[in-house]
């Protein structure tokens, strides 16, 4: 492997979160974006072809080494690592609405779910899956919420474009109201 690929490997291995290309570029001031992307491709290929138990994955707007799915049961059985807790249906509903409508205010989330979503949103913020991005216009200038990169991470998504498009669903959602 090239020295740059090795350096990238060491950095990605040491990190517990996905690292963005821009972050990886700070490892070696000489290497530009093109070289870093080439190094990442080289690294991914090296792991894919040599038969490894881990692989390099593009996820949550960055790159991360993850174990291959077939080893999950054994690792969890031996209690070397814990799988994350599942999200409740209420949390997933709220996340789905925020993901598709972001930035979105609480009232709109409440309305679609038919229940007060305040406590659920607070929990999602606490877990780092949702954040306040700005204040909307109108009465009381409501807080607007959006999903975080960590939301992508727990779903294993590269970016929001990987979410299914609404047209692909069997029923149609009304388009978000145009801002007044």
């Amino acid at each position: 492997m090239s020295p740059l690929a090795q350096l990238l490997e060491a950095a990605l291995f040491a990190a517990s979160r996905p690292l963005a290309v821009e972050e990886l570029m700070t490892l070696d001031p000489q290497a530009g974006e093109v070289a870093v992307r080439a190094g990442l491709d080289e690294l991914r290929a090296a792991y894919a072809t040599a038969g490894h138990g881990v692989e390099l994955v593009e996820i949550a707007l960055g790159w991360q080494f993850l174990t291959r799915p077939e080893h999950a049961a054994a690792i969890e059985g031996a209690q070397f690592a814990l799988r994350p807790r599942r999200l409740s249906p209420a949390a997933l509903e709220t996340l789905a609405i925020i993901a598709y409508r972001q930035p979105v205010g609480r009232v709109e989330v409440d309305e679609i779910r038919g229940v007060d979503a305040g406590a659920v949103i607070d929990k999602l913020i606490e877990r780092g899956l949702v954040e306040v991005v700005s204040r909307g216009e109108g009465l009381g200038r409501p807080l607007l919420y959006a999903t975080t990169p960590q939301f992508l991470e727990i779903l294993g998504l590269k970016d929001l474009d990987e979410l299914p498009r609404l047209e692909e669903l069997s029923v149609a959602l009304r388009p978000p109201a145009a801002p007044a």
Partner: protein, 247 residues
């Protein structure tokens, strides 16, 4: 035929449903009923579904949960509207179910997204990230950037929110807690028990209501009386404390 799900798991002492494992809200319950009976959402037999909904929230003890209660009221109103006779050829008539149907369709789509998200999260959970950090030393916090212009822009936004140099809102009449206290004590001097309306009277102003309310809470705190309300919106009963020994 509706098979009832097990009773809710988390009901706090006050009787309010905190979170249900079974349904994430009234729309979810409604959709459950519709699916179970294989009904057509766009042509909802509203009378049937309203009765079923009421039955289920009664059985589950949900009738105190505001969100479910509100939906129940909405269903009953739609049911009533559909029962009203309408003239043949009335073009102005709008199906009272339309809004509910739209919300249900929208909610159904959210449920579909939820299934997709749950699947994605489940496959991500099959993979572990790095567990061990070789350099265990604490990472210094990220440097914080505040630019003066940002702060000033924030100050301007804030100033724009203030209509005048901050003035305290002026209450037209000050609260008269002392007067209310005297009134309550006088009433309880005469009888063992009285009601909220006995104290405030009909057509009381907001200030009067607040004064009485604060006086009641204060007296209750001091142990001079007990307050009781048998249910939401039920009359508040004020009882002298300690009860006078029976003659």
């Amino acid at each position: 035929m509706t098979t009832l799900p097990p009773p809710p798991s988390a009901v706090d002492q006050a009787g309010f449903v905190v979170e249900l494992e079974q349904f994430s809200g009234p729309l979810d319950l409604l959709l459950h009923l519709i699916r179970e009976d294989e009904l057509d959402i766009t042509d909802l037999p509203i009378a049937k579904i309203a009765d079923q909904f009421l039955g289920v929230i009664g059985d589950l003890g949900l009738s105190q949960a505001a969100d479910y209660l509100e939906m129940a009221a909405r269903l009953l109103r739609i049911k009533a509207q559909t029962l009203l006779p309408r003239r043949p050829g009335d073009d102005e008539w709008e199906d009272p179910r339309a809004e509910l149907v739209r919300r249900l369709l929208e909610y159904q789509q959210v449920r579909e997204l939820v299934d997709w998200l749950a699947d994605a999260a489940a496959s991500r959970a099959e993979r572990f990230a790095r567990g061990f950090m070789p350099e265990a030393r604490p990472v210094p916090p990220a440097p914080l950037v505040i630019e003066l212009n940002e702060l000033l822009a924030a100050a301007e936004r804030v100033i724009a929110l203030i209509p005048e140099p901050v003035l305290h809102r002026v209450v037209p009449r000050p609260l008269d807690v002392e007067g209310a206290t005297e009134r309550i004590q006088a009433l309880l001097g005469e009888r063992e028990e009285c009601s909220w309306l006995d104290v405030v009277g009909e057509g009381a102003s907001v200030v009067d209501v607040l004064s009485v309310f604060i006086a009641l809470l204060e007296l209750a705190k001091r142990g001079a009386l007990k307050l009781r309300q048998d249910g939401p919106f039920a009359p508040i009963v004020i009882r002298r404390e300690p009860p006078r020994a029976a003659a």
